[in-house]
């Protein structure tokens, strides 16, 4: 029986162009692909995560190499060629996989570092996996640990202030321009995580109409449905700008999307009603010259950052702190995982028994007056053999080739029964 490996495969915004990511995205929800993966024999536990910036699969298997190929073929066959997949995919195993998952959960791997949406998406993904019972003990523990790492990062560093503050700044500026945001209309151009977040913040301020323009109409419609808005194509943006007050642009385009000459003729037709442009795309979508037009206020991501006076240094320092937490937690998890084998469990079990034995002897022996060293030895032996007999069956249960209960599960049971994890965690703190 070989060693179990935790394997994480995926693509994200860093290495993979949007066109490929779009094709790989699991647009039909998690149910179907999770069901398909059930057909693969070698997978013990698995879950899937698909957001607009990443698609990831995490599974536990005894032969990672083979399963990796099979999983990729199953999920992406017909969508993208093998070569394309091979060119952009990253594969992490064990410790690295854990580390990566924690990085993702705590939003250190996000396009906008510190945004909190990813955690919700991760929880959603995990909920599907656990409903379909594809997440077992290890994944359960791993994902829950990931959530708590994210929480720790959020509370112990100010990394979250960055992303939140950008949306907050957008709202604040909107208020300074429009006074009341109620009844105003927002257009999202491109459907990135950050745009979604900013739109969400604005919705909270009473914005009542959202228009989503995206290159792929499907994604636009999905996002529009979320905000109960409308979806339009990218070529309609300029026309639609007549009725919009705030525009948030976050396309992945390489060059500029909207130019001064597109906007200038609109203003008389808008009767000069003010327009607030927020450009959170990197590289920028909106021509900086637009800001020179009257009644138009253009802010790019650096401007918004200036608003919240979060300088780069501070942000990097927080990211560093957050990385350290992730580092620390993934080591801890690694230690826990190592304990989930038979031998260390037996060692822990023995150690616990031994310490109970010693403690009881230390309490009892001084109370017995005038016993010889021989008698003393006998008592010690007796205590040791009681413990030994008590542990005999649990140990056999651990080691045996059990047909119906998985070994990991048995290890977990024993560890829970004797509270081995608690002890281990206490000693750590």
């Amino acid at each position: 029986m070989g060693q179990d490996s935790i394997v994480l495969l995926g693509v994200n915004h860093k290495k993979t162009p949007l066109e490929i990511r779009e094709k790989m995205a699991l647009t039909g929800g998690y149910q179907e692909p999770l069901e398909q993966l059930r057909g693969l024999e070698g997978l013990k536990e698995y879950y899937l995560l698909s957001t607009c910036n990443r698609v990831e699969v995490l599974f536990i298997s005894q032969n990672p190499e083979q399963m990796r190929r099979e999983v990729l073929d199953l999920l992406f066959a017909g969508k993208v060629s093998r070569e394309e997949v091979a060119g952009c995919i990253y594969v992490y195993e064990n410790q690295e996989a854990v580390h990566h998952l924690f990085m993702v959960a705590s939003s250190l791997d996000s396009m906008i570092v510190g945004e909190s949406q990813i955690l919700g998406q991760l929880k959603e993904a995990f909920r599907h996996a656990s409903e379909q019972k594809t997440a077992g003990m290890i994944l359960n523990r791993l994902l829950h640990k990931a959530f708590s790492v994210a929480k720790r990062v959020r509370t112990e560093t100010r990394i979250g202030a960055n992303a939140v503050s950008i949306s907050y700044a957008a709202v604040e500026l909107g208020r300074k321009i429009f006074g009341d945001l109620r009844g105003k209309r927002v257009m999202l151009v491109g459907a990135g995580e950050m745009a979604e977040l900013a739109a969400e913040h604005l919705m909270g301020q009473g914005i009542d109409d959202v228009v989503v323009a995206n290159r792929t109409l499907e994604r636009a419609m999905k996002l529009a449905a979320r905000f109960k808005g409308r979806a339009i194509g990218l070529d309609e943006v300029v026309d639609q700008l007549l009725d919009v007050d705030i525009l948030i642009s976050s396309t992945g385009a390489q060059g500029l999307v909207l130019f001064k000459k597109d906007i200038a003729p609109l203003m008389p037709r808008r009767r000069n009603r003010p327009l607030f442009f927020i450009d959170i795309a990197v590289p920028r979508d909106l021509d900086p010259e637009i800001n020179t037009l009257e009644n138009i206020y253009l802010y790019d991501i650096d401007d918004l950052n200036n608003v919240v006076e979060m300088n780069r240094e501070q942000r990097d320092k927080e990211a560093l702190k957050a990385r350290r937490i992730v580092e620390e937690e993934s080591l801890k998890f690694q230690r826990w995982l190592a304990g989930m084998e038979v031998t260390p469990t037996i060692v822990d079990l023995r150690a616990v028994a031994e310490s109970i034995c010693q403690a009881e002897l230390a309490k009892t022996l001084p109370r017995l007056n005038g016993i010889s060293s021989k008698e003393r030895k006998s008592i010690e032996r007796m205590a040791a053999s009681i413990v030994g007999k008590m542990l005999h069956h649990p140990m056999r249960y651990l080691k045996a080739e059990h047909a119906c209960i998985d070994q990991t599960e048995r290890i977990m049971q024993v560890r829970n029964l004797f509270q081995l994890n608690e002890q281990y965690e206490q000693s750590e703190e």
């Binding site: 500026l173 208020r175 300074k176 321009i177 429009f178 006074g179 009341d180 008389p268 808008r270 009767r271 000069n272 009603r273 003010p274 800001n291 009257e294 009644n295 206020y297 802010y299 401007d303 200036n306 608003v307």
Partner: protein, 266 residues
């Protein structure tokens, strides 16, 4: 009898202005409330002062320089307070209080002697013309204050350097609405004031009231400026920076007219 009241209201305006400035700096709500109460008290004292002067003089006290400027200050204060009914403009109190105080200061330097009215001025068109015109000027003053605030705020938003004024000034939309609101009251009043002046002048000088004196030409130009601005706003949606700029320029013209009127002795 009326002068001690003038002094009293002047002092209370001082306190109100000081409180408004403190509020502008530290943005504490209680101070704004206090400033407002003090400001209302000052305006009330000022009103009694004007009333008593009316009784003392036996005619509407808008004839001497002191009286005109004092009445102007009182009108600005009252117009400002009248906004409270409809909407509040954050921190506009500070600007208004400073202007009112400045006007009071000028009024206090002018001669307070009650002058007997020459017979040709004893027409009831005079108080109508003068009071309506000054109230119009008060609304236009507030429009100009709004314009200055707009330009300050807009500059911060455009240049993306957020300094002292950004958090303290209201939104551009509020300021633009203030501008529209003030001009749409001030402009008709100005028109009525000018018509009253025309009728009055006709009474005095008979059938040839239209004299090409610079004062009247200036008034007509100013009137056209406001009329043009109103027209452009309704038809083309002129607003914001452009409207604020024109409002400020036109306001200087208004000041010039008032100044020249006072110097020439109406």
């Amino acid at each position: 009898m009326s002068y001690p009241l003038f002094q009293a209201s002047f002092t209370v305006y001082c306190i109100a202005t000081a409180l408004y400035i403190i509020f502008f700096l530290n943005q504490k709500k209680q101070i704004r409330k206090a400033a407002r109460m003090v400001f209302i008290a000052a305006a009330f004292l000022h009103a009694v002062n004007i009333l008593l002067r009316y009784i003392e003089a036996g005619h509407t006290p808008i004839t001497s320089i002191h009286e005109v400027i004092s009445f102007f200050a009182w009108s600005v204060a009252c117009c400002h307070l009248s906004f409270r009914w409809r909407y509040t403009v954050k921190n506009s109190g500070t600007f208004t209080a400073v202007i009112v105080l400045l006007l009071m200061l000028i009024a206090s330097f002018a001669s307070r002697k009650i002058l007997p009215l020459p017979p040709e001025m004893q027409s009831w068109w005079l108080p109508v013309h003068a009071s309506v015109s000054i109230i119009a000027a008060a609304f236009l003053t507030l429009a100009a204050i709004g314009g200055v605030m707009y330009l300050l705020q807009e500059r911060e938003l455009k240049q993306k350097r957020f300094g002292f004024f950004f958090s303290r000034l209201p939104s551009l939309d509020t300021l633009d609405k203030l501008n529209q609101h003030c001009i749409s009251i001030g402009f008709p009043l100005m028109t009525v004031g000018m018509l009253a002046g025309y009728i009055w002048a006709r009474q005095i000088w008979g059938g040839r009231p239209w004299q090409w004196n610079p004062k009247i030409v200036m008034s007509v130009i100013t009137w056209l400026l406001y009329a043009g601005l109103m027209h452009q706003r309704f038809t083309l949606g002129w607003r914001g920076r452009r409207a604020a700029g024109i409002t400020i320029i036109a306001f200087f013209a208004v000041l010039l007219i008032i100044g020249s009127m006072l110097q020439e002795g109406l």
